[in-house]
Amino acid sequence: MSFRSGIPSSMPVIDDVNFKLFVDEADQNPKYGRGLDPSYKQPLIPGLATTFTETIPRSEWNDRIQYMEENRMRLPDLVDDLKSRGKWNGPRVLNQSQTNYCWINAPVHTIMLTRAKQGELYIPLSPASVGAKIKNFRNVGGWGSEGLKYIRERGVVPQSLWPANAIDRRYDNEESDRARSHFKCHEWYTLRPRNFDQLASCLLQNIPVAIGLNWWGHEVTAVALLRTGENEYAILIDNSWGENWGDKGRGVLAGTKMLPDDAVAPRVVTASSFSQRDHKLWS
């Protein structure tokens, strides 16, 4: 068996040896925004956040990974399948452009993936509609857990009503506020920092995880667990730098570079049936 069968050659693999290249890439390229707030402490989120307790034993990982790859049941497979059927009418990943809103792009992407998993209609959602509200319309860093808390309480606005990267009060209006209520997160896991078994267990259940990485100053979305050796694993990520980065916006993190300093994983989002008017307006 080829352990790296799930990793196309065009996909960047970031590990403990080469990670500085990717930090430099982001430092030198203004189009790759990042933005974790180093002063932020992960809060205990009240409400329906569940501390992760149920891990999948490592003895089951290899069989599960093999089954999920062979049967195309991983989250990237779902997005690719929906795209091929015309049911995901946008890019596979978000693009934060030059904003410092990676910390909210990743949670919003997890909401879009969870909606797809539940069988809800594809509606592109706006990270700025959450990030700008939390940070009082400043382009500054944050963490995914604070973003998901806001999405639980208030929701996120479709991009058609609030452009993805618009840190702009003009879009904070009655219409966008009405739309938010259809796009809330209801239940999620808060993972223990740097706990790989919890991260892997989420991915083996097709639960996307927004992960904050101090070494990169960046937050991305973990979408699948990969096997890279006899007992070696890596994670497939959706970045928020558009589809031109990596392999259609995706890459791989390995070694200690895949261990998250902050990790939140939505499990349940609002189920909505829209009026024809709203669907046309929000799509």
Partner: protein
């Protein structure tokens, strides 16, 4: 006319009156009661689970909940598909789906489906193939 003939004429007259009062058309066919577990105007299948416990599910069942094969088959064969946690907020969802989520269940994961006329409400089949076989029985 004999007494029997008089009774016969009266019965025919009586039947004719009933026919006219009923609108004059052919008598309605007695409707067969629907065996659909929830009302819907199109084939729909809902898979219900507890997202907090999916770590305990065999990967073959998780495939039905989250993978591409079952939902792809549904789409190709005219079934709308949803995969919801039993606590999914549904206030803003379609009435038909709300009723699907509220069917009586004895366990999770669960599968409920209806083509409008008939359907079933059953424990989730153990594989994608068995779930597809079940829906095929109700695909028109």
């Amino acid at each position: 006319m004999t007494l029997k003939q008089n009774i016969g004429v009266l019965l025919v007259f009586f039947a004719a009156m009933l026919w006219v009062q009923g609108g004059g058309g052919l008598p309605d066919i007695i409707p067969i009661p629907s065996t659909a577990p929830f009302p819907t105007d199109k084939p729909r299948v809902l898979v219900i689970h507890e997202s907090e416990y999916t770590a305990k599910l065999p990967v073959e069942q998780l495939d039905i909940l989250t993978g591409t094969r079952f939902r792809g088959w549904c789409q190709d064969n005219g079934w709308e598909f949803k995969s919801w946690d039993e606590e999914t907020p549904i206030v803003q969802a379609d009435e038909s789906w709300k009723k699907a989520l509220s069917v009586t269940r004895t366990d999770t994961p669960w599968m409920v489906f209806s083509n409008g006329q008939s359907g079933e409400s059953i424990p989730l089949p153990t594989t994608v193939d068995s779930a597809i076989s079940k829906l095929k029985e109700y695909t028109q």
